[in-house]
């Protein structure tokens, strides 16, 4: 009987009888992908569809404070809640009470400040346009500025988006005031309402068009982003099960006997590679199938599978082989299950972070952009994104596949060194 075949049968039987292990290997990745996609999807909806709760305290008695509130409302990003008290010392408590992430205090005399600024700019512009440039942005002209309070939980990028939206509302108010004053100065009468609207709101629209290799205009959703990324993570997380299995076998009596038998331990490792390759491929197949068929039923966006299914299969196999090689390497070098599990889990998290699974790689600092190339998860993700997001074919992602295979070869060589050093072969 062929040694490899017998060993594969043995490993398959042991694997299939370990129900908890199977549960962890198949159910946990599904749970991971569903949870992460749901969370990312709700963040996506928060930015695009849901509204941020904004507490507004208007101390202004004039009309522009109210116009400012209307303008903020028109942005569509905020759910406005008016403050019960105008006392700024009370803002923090009110934010907590009303569950608001952001608060904006419009200062007293806001209308007067804006109008006097507009008048000044208009009269200067009519007299000497060059002098407007020099004066326009000096902060001392706004002694009592708008105050934006925010919850510390807000990340910088999100806070900057909110600030940008509020700034655009202020600009509209300021622009409107300046245009009115200019019109009045030139025409000696009030600006007609329709012209005012045309000047201020007649902006050219911006159409957002995703770029894909196929020319498809389908907007990528949270599933297209998250399912491939976290499937890779799940495949590499096999280090917990496989690495631990190798350590247990190494430390068991069965390994002592295997060492005295007339066949090399490499057979055992080849068998584990074959069996766990099946596992990683099935993990990916199950997760992609759930994303494609089941996600719409639980309110998540559908995962559109790439057109080039062969390319998808090749990336999955290469990624799975790399994940299995990494797990075996960890199992060979670790002396205990604790070492294997601890190092395996943390190293995969680090490689995932470096690989752009947690934060997009384009958002990383320049020095990390170079380091991330050592992460096999990065190349796997790039290959999957080439297929899932850009609609690419095998020829478009071959460089990513080649890089992933290169890293796999290095891992295998390192494992071979470990096997020799530890007298395992």
């Amino acid at each position: 009987m062929n040694i490899l075949k017998a060993t594969i049968i043995k490993d398959l039987k042991i694997l299939l009888r370990d129900r908890v292990g199977l549960f962890i290997m198949f159910f946990m990745p599904i749970l991971l992908v569903v949870v992460i996609t749901s969370v990312q999807n709700s963040t996506f909806e928060l930015v695009n569809n849901n509204k941020i709760s904004l507490l507004l305290a208007n101390k202004d008695k004039g009309p522009l404070g109210k116009e400012m509130i209307d303008g903020i409302g028109k942005i569509g990003l905020f759910r406005i809640q008016l403050a019960d008290s105008l006392d700024e010392n009370d803002v923090s408590a009110q934010m907590r009470n009303k569950d608001a992430l952001v608060a904006l205090v419009i200062p007293a005399g806001f209308t007067e400040i804006i109008q006097s600024k507009a008048e000044e700019i208009a009269s200067r512009a009519l007299r000497d346009p060059d002098s407007v440039q020099a004066k326009i942005a000096s902060p001392q002209d706004f002694p009592d500025s708008l105050h934006m309070y925010y919850h510390p939980v807000m990340q910088t990028s999100f806070r900057q988006s909110v600030e940008g939206a509020l700034r655009s509302a202020v600009q509209v108010i300021q622009g409107e005031a300046i245009v009115k004053k200019l019109y009045e100065a030139v025409n000696q009468k009030e600006i007609p309402a329709d012209l005012e609207k045309q000047i201020l709101f007649g902006q050219l629209p911006i159409s957002e068009i995703p770029v894909s290799r196929t020319g498809s205009r389908t907007i990528p959703n949270a599933s297209q982003h998250n399912v491939p990324a976290w499937t890779i993570f799940a495949m590499f997380f096999i280090v917990i099960s496989l690495g631990g299995s190798i350590v247990r076998e190494k430390n068991s009596g069965s390994f002592i006997r295997l060492k005295t038998l007339p066949a090399s331990y490499l057979h055992a490792l080849l068998s584990k590679q074959a069996v766990y390759m099946m596992v990683t491929t099935m993990q990916a197949a199950v997760v992609f199938a759930i994303g494609n068929k089941f996600f719409p039923y639980i309110g998540l966006p559908v995962l559109h599978l790439p057109k080039d299914i062969w390319a998808l299969l090749i990336v999955t196999l290469v990624c799975g082989y790399c994940a299995v090689s990494y797990a075996i390497c960890v199992g060979v070098f670790a002396n205990t299950s604790e070492q294997s599990n601890g190092f395996g889990a943390i190293s995969i998290l680090i490689l995932a972070a470096l690989g752009g699974l947690i934060v997009p790689s384009f958002a990383m600092p320049a020095h990390l952009q170079k380091v991330l190339q050592i992460s096999p998860l990065h190349w796997a993700l790039e290959a999957y994104y080439g297929l899932f997001l850009e609609g690419g074919k095998l020829r478009d992602i071959w460089l990513n596949i080649l890089s992933l295979m290169g890293i796999t070869v290095l891992i295998q060589l390192f494992t071979l060194y470990g096997l020799k050093k530890k007298n395992l072969i």
Partner: protein, 248 residues
């Protein structure tokens, strides 16, 4: 010239960075067809010597020859000559007895048909036929010891190394195992055996070596040793030669 089953010459070995057992200029011949018992107190070097003879440990100097083949740096193929029954349970508890024998049979290089025939034979003689398809993890200690033995003799080796094969088993299991080992020996298998069960020496061994601190302190047939040292039983002889001091 008759080639001995085992020939150890000027063996030198010590564990790196460890105090304790070491062998220097250690010599031993074990004739083919012998039932050879290695006895000694804890830490005497019995298991270390067994591991050296099976190639699990690499020795620094000297030679160990198995039917004329040098163990050190040997090709894996000569491992078919011997079988090894380690002290620890050396099988997969998540597999049945039959599945374990099929797996190890393949690793010994046996054909599918040979595996099937031999599995049936071994399960029968070791009283495991009725539980052959049960997972080994559900077996009693004695049954596990018998599975451990069955795997070691699956390929009918010329030399069988047994490291305390009967530890922790009941009288019935021990009897069955000793009986089967004798039968194996009659069919030509050389047995090399370590144990703390001194009464088994009388029952099983044709030759005995008492070792302590990596040295042979007595080597002969049981009768020869008892006569030479003037003792009536193995225990008295053992204590007389190795002392009453605790060794662990």
């Amino acid at each position: 010239m008759i080639i001995p089953a085992i020939k150890i010459q000027d063996l030198a070995f010590h564990y790196p960075r460890q105090e304790g057992i070491c062998f220097n200029n250690f010599n031993l011949d074990i004739a083919a067809g012998e039932r050879f018992g290695l006895f000694g107190p804890n830490g005497a070097g019995k298991t270390t010597l067994m591991n050296l003879m099976t190639g699990l440990l690499k020795y620094a100097g000297g030679s160990i020859r198995l039917f004329g083949h040098e163990i050190k740096n040997h090709p894996k193929s000569i491992n078919t000559i011997f079988g090894f029954v380690p002290q620890d349970f050396s099988f997969y508890p998540e597999l049945s007895a039959r599945e374990n024998l099929a797996f190890y049979g393949a690793w010994y290089g046996l054909e599918k048909k040979q595996i099937s025939i031999r599995t049936d034979e071994l399960l029968e003689v070791l009283g495991l036929t009725s539980v052959g398809n049960r997972l080994v993890k559900s077996f009693s200690g004695g049954m596990k010891r018998r599975v451990n033995l069955a795997i070691g003799i699956m390929h009918q080796p010329k030399v069988l190394f047994l490291d305390e094969p009967t530890v922790g088993v009941d009288v019935q299991s021990r009897h069955a195992m000793i009986h089967y080992l004798k039968k194996q020996n009659e069919s030509g298998t050389t047995l090399i055996y370590t144990s703390h069960q001194l009464e088994e020496a009388a029952e099983l061994c044709t030759k005995i070596a008492l070792i302590d601190n990596g040295k042979i302190i007595a080597h002969d047939s049981l009768e020869g040793l008892l006569e030479k040292h003037g003792h009536e039983g193995m225990e008295g002889l053992f204590l007389a030669l190795t002392g009453k001091r605790f060794r662990d």
